[in-house]
């Protein structure tokens, strides 16, 4: 049976993506504003979808691939909305919204009756909080990475004295730098909290701390790299490409920890 809320969410993100593409074509603020409005509506619809599934099944829909994709798109949308309070970077919403739509659409198209990959009894409040926090942390790292790439490009242009027409459409370095710090900072906080909660959950289930599980080890490494990023900035006053390189490395490691570990290594995590 089609989940009407999920369908509406995907539709909202689709319309928002259409405005995003229009924005790339025209660079008219109107299109970006519309894209953001549809993103906001999609986010609210998705919150209802989540709540509906939670109420109807008794636990958060985190045991199936469609639910995981929904949480991922939901946290990415939330991150963009949250980040806009810090600084409005028009190109950002239009950059990520099509990905959010894609995640939502794949989730929607996935058979909701597929076999759950997690036992329902594991879905404790600590587990739910662990997953939400980790996803929100990862989403912030993702947006921080996107902004960092924009900084990298813009800085390169300015250093080489080559201001192309699209450079004029990118925000100033100061804004990009501030936004990267913001998203990496928020991501660091939530990723760290997710790691702590995951550790608590693991201890409750297995009565031991699987520190050498690649996911946990990778997550710790991600935190160390981002901590180094903050230390170099604040203690040594380093800025520019060197610190942005750490953002890139941290993100690729987070991406591998988040998605790659299950594919290439052995882990006790179910996804």
């Amino acid at each position: 049976m089609i989940n009407i809320f999920y369908a509406v969410t995907t539709f909202f993100y689709a319309v928002g993506s259409w405005f995003s593409f229009r924005y790339y074509k025209t660079f008219e603020p109107f299109n970006e504003k519309k894209a953001f409005q549809w993103l906001l509506m999609g986010f609210l619809a998705q919150a209802i979808t989540l709540a509906d599934q939670w109420v109807s099944t008794g636990f958060a829909p985190l045991d199936r691939i469609d639910g995981i994709l929904m949480i991922l798109s939901f946290s990415l949308a939330g991150t963009l909305i949250f980040g806009r309070a810090k600084a409005s970077v028009p190109i950002l919403v239009s950059l990520f919204l099509p990905f959010i739509f894609l995640l939502s659409a794949i989730g929607f198209a996935t058979d909701i009756n597929s076999v759950p990959f997690m036992d329902a009894h594991l879905m404790t409040p600590v587990m739910v909080a662990h997953i939400f926090m980790t996803f929100f942390g990862f989403s912030n790292f993702t947006v921080g990475f996107g902004v960092g790439v924009a900084f990298w490009i813009q800085e390169g242009q300015l250093k080489q004295h080559q201001m192309k027409s699209w450079s004029y459409r990118l925000p100033a370095l100061e804004i990009l730098d501030g936004l990267t710090v913001f998203h990496v900072g928020v991501g660091f906080l939530f990723w760290g909290l997710g790691l702590v909660l995951g550790t608590v959950q693991a201890y409750q289930v297995w009565n031991q701390l699987p520190l050498f599980d690649p996911k946990i080890f990778g997550s710790l490494l991600v935190l160390i790299i981002y901590a180094l990023f903050f230390i170099l900035r604040w203690a040594l006053g380093m800025r520019g490409k060197k610190t942005m390189t750490l953002v890139m490395i941290g993100y690729f490691l987070a991406l591998f920890t988040f998605l790659g570990v299950r594919l290439f290594l052995t882990t006790q995590h179910t996804f």
Binding site: F27, E28, M163, Y168, R169, A172, E174, R239, K241, K242
Partner: protein, 426 residues
């Protein structure tokens, strides 16, 4: 009704001709009023690069003749002497020309921002004087919307084309708003004054002028609203400011080591150095330092020239946008022209039918009521059938401009013109 643009600009007339036509607003309205009743609506645009009349008229030749007479009498010139400088555009060509002017595609400096404001002022002046109506209000509203679209959707005005503006734009690409950043000018030469003025006008939070001769620093600081200081004080101030503008003569060079020491005390804050001194005042190696952005006069000029090229490239895209807008304007005009024309045509036939029927019935007063009704129905059906084909064919014409012309011809052929004007004015 025709819409025409009649005027001259920097491509058709030299400045000594153009300057003769510069009129004050009161005089402009006097001229436009003088063109009535030939031109029912009118806007007159007068800038340093163009003088243009935007008029709606039924009699183009007569209106132009009147325009020349009026201008000649004001400027005391013979009409024949001035005619050669003028150009005339009609309807869709005139719309396109107006849209190009408002979008700054027809300006001497491509993409300059002032022209849109000047067109708006000219229109507002005419509107306030009651010289515009439905047609010009609609046409100008669309011209302004089209210009806005061109500015936002193309690179026509996005990138600066003079060295000083490029410097300010670069500063904004590094620091976003300049309101929290200070500028230090090293060397109070003429070269740096304009760039410094642009930066100050952008609202920087502090502006310092350092010069070997303090008096010269004081003069410039007073002029631009800054704080004067000696060169030694200026060097010390470098740690505090975020933008340094240098134009010092006599072998002054800022070395990499000096700046390296400086940036250590800045805690990673970016430093934008604009070196417009010739010979250069800053060692090029400085530009390789982290968070330091160094531009010399050649770098700035290269960007300005490249931007000029980009603006030129944007013309094609801008014109395609404007063509779409002209099409939309023609559609709007059609909605004004086509439907009322059809309605008037039908009304005209209906009047003829009624009159003929009354005359006929007067000749046969004893005709039974049933037969009267049958004749009435017959005449109505004939009229409807006669009008059916032209109406359908008129709606079928795909080219919007042709449809507009078609409707106009129809009004001419069936003498619907006077009726239309009367209705339009009411």
């Amino acid at each position: 009704m025709k819409f025409i643009v009649y005027g001259l600009n920097h491509t058709t007339a030299p400045v000594e001709v153009r300057e003769k036509y510069a009129l004050e607003q009161d005089r402009v309205l006097e001229v436009l009023r003088g063109l009535k009743p030939q031109a029912s609506e009118g806007v007159f645009l007068s800038t340093c690069n163009r003088v243009e009349f935007y008029l709606t008229t039924e009699t183009v030749d007569r209106t132009i003749e009147d325009t020349h007479k009026t201008l000649s009498s004001i400027h005391k010139l013979k009409p024949a002497d001035i005619k050669k400088y003028f150009y005339l555009y009609e309807d869709s060509e005139a719309f396109f020309h107006l849209f190009r002017v408002a979008s700054s595609l027809d300006s001497m400096v491509l993409g300059e921002a002032q022209i849109l404001g000047q067109v708006k002022d000219a229109y507002e002046g005419s509107k306030e004087a009651g010289m515009t109506g439905t047609l010009l209000n609609g046409i100008f509203a669309r011209a302004f919307a089209a210009a806005k679209k061109v500015r936002s959707q193309t690179d026509i005005a996005r990138m600066p084309t003079n060295v000083s503006s490029v410097a300010v734009d670069l500063a904004k690409k590094i620091f976003s708003s300049l309101k929290e950043h200070k500028v230090l000018l090293l060397g109070a030469g003429d070269m740096s004054e304009l760039t410094a003025k642009y930066l100050v006008d952008s609202g920087v939070s502090g502006f310092y002028v350092a010069n070997r001769t303090l008096d010269k620093a004081k003069t410039l600081a007073a002029k631009l609203g800054g704080k004067p200081m000696t060169m030694e004080e200026g060097i010390k101030k470098m740690a505090e400011v975020d933008i340094i503008l240098t134009s010092v003569g006599g072998g002054f060079t800022l070395k990499r080591d000096d700046v390296e020491k400086l940036i250590k005390s800045r805690n990673g804050r970016s430093l934008f150095i604009i070196d417009i001194g010739v010979p250069r005042n800053v060692d090029p190696e400085v530009g390789k330092l982290e968070s330091v952005y160094l531009y010399n006069i050649d770098n700035l000029s290269a960007i300005a020239n490249e931007n000029k090229g980009e603006r030129q490239k944007a013309v094609e895209v801008a014109e395609s946008i404007l063509r779409e807008e002209v099409d939309q304007l023609c559609s709007w005009l059609l909605s004004l022209e086509l439907v009322p024309t059809i309605t008037r045509l039908r009304n005209s036939y209906e009047t003829i039918r009624q009159n003929e029927l009354q005359d006929f019935l007067k000749q046969f007063p004893n005709l039974p009521e049933k037969e009267k009704k049958a004749i009435e129905r017959l005449t109505r059906d004939i009229t409807l059938k006669v009008l059916h084909e032209p109406t359908v064919n008129l709606k079928k014409v795909e080219d919007k401009v042709d449809r507009f012309e078609f409707a106009r011809m129809l009004r001419e052929i069936f003498s619907l013109k006077d009726q239309h004007d009367t209705e339009g004015k009411s």
